[in-house]
């Protein structure tokens, strides 16, 4: 089977008959069979169902009635509801849970004839930056199996990296789509908050959570976004702004562009040297193309992570109160009364990091500390939003590395939560302020590990952001890693 990097290539071959959906599904299933035991990207594979759906879609293609995603084989992160399929959010507390409805984003890609091949491993309740916090075990990076794939959508990234599917749907609360995409040499896209309905997405931090695609190409991310985005009567926070035409982007960008780059994104001491060089090289290319390229000082940078963790732990402690052993999920067999049923079910079902975040969130929301932590963080969030808006009054895009380093070794940061939280330093800003951001491949380091370049855009500036990402990808000389 040819190594495809975009749906366009696949559909060209489907149309001239040189490949079929059945062959594509068989190919991906074979890859899953060969690689998944080691990589642990999928927690459930819908083989028979995918084969059957492939046959149906092959018939539709022959009849000229296929949807826009015909030929796209997709994996979904274990936080997205898909009716009559299991859903666990990587947690023992949802052991045996079966979705009773389908997430809006998932339904929309199904309606366009995407084939869903399975459910993908992730950090428990999407809390983590390494995919080491899953009830299903650690996921391994296909570029180096001793290293993490990033998280929390680690399984979703590795599945695309190792060619077990063409694209994945993940979720991004603080970088959970972009950071694993960067660690695995892929495109990871987080849209503006509210661009895609969250209906059917297991909630972590509801004012941060976004569904986003992980793909091999910017054009596939654009196509998936266009299909998933838009109003939905099941989510009152979803934007009712019209969805742009994200698949016809030529001629959209003015020239020259005003490009800002985060000064710490090239000068920070914690930055891996190759990451800095790759950033500087990219900025030089943009200057040579005639764009204005200037450093931006975001003096609130060091406050972003504490703000993010106060607000998301608070929101998650509230969201995760629904897991109580009563209506679904794990129920302790050691309970004596209702209170002990809650406590024992939750204590047995949740993992260590999830419990830590629930405790932190409960603490910052408790009466004595609410103003000192939670309200304070909400105020700082406004400062960050205002400062970010000012940056975008002056610049069209803000560039920085997606991560300070490439993928780190498994076990490296598991003992110290603060070290793990710092892995998200460059990605959380987009979630705190709600702007769209994308990670695109930016070469590899001396050990051959993928590096990511992050581009942040204006709220609802998805079309311009994707157009610019396309343009910048064309200047890439290094190939993304192929497992």
């Amino acid at each position: 089977m040819k190594y495809y990097t975009s749906l366009r290539e696949i559909q060209a071959d489907l149309n001239d008959g040189s490949v079929s959906c059945r062959q594509l599904v068989a190919y991906y299933l074979k890859n899953i069979e060969e690689k998944n035991a080691q990589l642990n990207a999928f927690v459930a594979v819908y083989g028979e169902e995918a084969r059957q759906r492939a046959e149906e879609i092959d018939l539709k293609i022959a009849a000229g009635k296929a949807g826009r995603l015909a030929g796209m084989v997709v994996g979904i992160k274990d936080v997205l509801c898909y009716k009559d399929h299991g859903l666990q959010a990587g947690s023992n507390i949802l052991d045996g849970f079966v979705s009773q409805f389908t997430a809006t984003a998932v339904q929309r890609i199904l309606d366009e004839d995407a084939i869903i091949i399975g459910r993908q491993n992730c950090d428990e309740f999407a809390m983590g930056s390494s995919n080491e916090n899953s009830a299903f075990g650690v996921v391994r990076n296909a570029a180096d199996v001793t290293r993490v794939p990033g998280g929390s959508s680690g399984g979703s990234a590795v599945a695309v990296q190792a060619d077990m599917c063409l694209a994945s749907l993940g979720s991004d609360t603080g970088g959970s789509v972009r950071q694993p995409a960067a660690f695995c040499g892929l495109v990871g896209f987080k849209p503006t908050y509210g661009r895609i309905s969250r209906w059917g997405l297991v909630a972590y931090g509801s004012s941060f959570d976004c569904i986003g695609p992980i793909t091999k190409s910017v054009e596939d991310a654009a196509l998936l976004l266009e299909i998933m985005a838009g109003a939905d009567e099941f989510d009152s926070t979803v934007s009712t702004q019209p969805v742009g035409d994200y698949t016809h982007l030529s001629g959209l960008l003015k020239h020259p562009l005003r490009i800002g780059y985060l000064r710490e994104g090239v000068e920070s001491e914690g930055l891996q040297p190759e990451m800095k060089q790759a950033m500087l090289a990219k900025l030089e290319v943009l200057r040579e193309q005639g764009h204005t390229v200037e450093p931006v000082d975001f003096d609130l940078l060091s406050y972003i992570l504490p703000t993010y963790y106060i607000l998301t732990t608070a929101e998650s402690s509230s969201n995760l109160s629904r897991f109580d052993g009563v209506r679904y999920g794990h129920r302790s067999s050691n309970a004596e009364d209702l209170t002990s049923l809650y406590k024992k079910s939750r204590s047995e079902g949740f993992g260590k990091e999830v419990k830590r975040r629930i405790m932190l969130g409960t603490f910052v929301l408790s009466a004595s500390y609410y103003d000192a932590y939670y309200t304070k963080a909400q105020k700082v969030r406004r400062l960050m939003k205002e400062q970010t808006d000012r940056v975008f009054e002056k610049y069209d895009f803000l560039l920085m590395p997606t991560t300070p380093t490439t993928a780190f070794p498994i076990g490296d940061k598991t003992e110290d939560p603060l070290q793990m939280y710092l892995a998200d330093i460059f990605t959380v800003q987009a979630n705190v302020v709600g702007n769209p951001a994308i990670s695109i491949p930016n070469g590899v380091d001396a050990q051959g590990l993928p590096m990511g370049l992050q581009i942040m855009g204006k709220p609802f500036g998805e079309a311009e952001l994707l157009a610019f990402s396309n343009q910048i990808t064309e200047t890439n000389t290094a190939q993304p890693s192929v497992a």
């Binding site: 849970f97 079966v98 009773q100 409805f101 908050y193 509210g194 004012s207 009152s236 926070t237 979803v238 934007s239 009712t240 702004q241 609130l300 060091s302 406050y303 504490p306 703000t307 963790y309 106060i310 402690s317 109160s321 009563v326 679904y328 999920g329 129920r331 309970a335 004596e336 009364d337 209702l338 049923l341 809650y342 406590k343 024992k344 939750r346 204590s347 949740f350 419990k355 830590r356 629930i358 405790m359 932190l360 969130g361 409960t362 603490f363 408790s366 932590y373 309200t375 304070k376 909400q378 105020k379 700082v380 969030r381 406004r382 400062l383 939003k385 939560p417 603060l418 709600g434 709220p459």
Partner: protein, 95 residues
């Protein structure tokens, strides 16, 4: 931020979690570390800043109140650890 064991268990009770004796010390340590790190925000002057409470650009989104498809009872009860065909079952609450 210093937290004592009584506060730890008070918070655990609010969160409906049980902390085992072995978990106490490491959890206290990691909570204190993270909370101290969060306190860096106190370096910022936010006296005249209103809290940002909503990030969505949509305000008071309403839709028509029309009868639609609901989750049928069997489906609603499908994932229940204990149920009697009509209700979820839990240990006795009132003596």
């Amino acid at each position: 931020m210093q937290i004592d064991k009584a506060t730890l268990h008070k918070i655990a009770n609010l969160a409906r979690l049980e902390i085992t004796p072995e978990e106490e010390a490491p959890l206290l340590q990691s909570l204190e570390n993270v909370l101290s790190w969060m306190e860096h925000l106190n370096e910022l002057d936010t006296d005249n800043v209103a809290p940002l409470t909503h990030i969505s650009s949509e305000i008071n989104v309403m839709r028509e109140d029309v009868v639609g498809d609901h989750l049928p009872r069997e489906q609603g009860l499908y994932n229940a650890p204990s149920q009697d065909g009509t209700y979820f079952r839990v240990p006795k609450v009132i003596e």
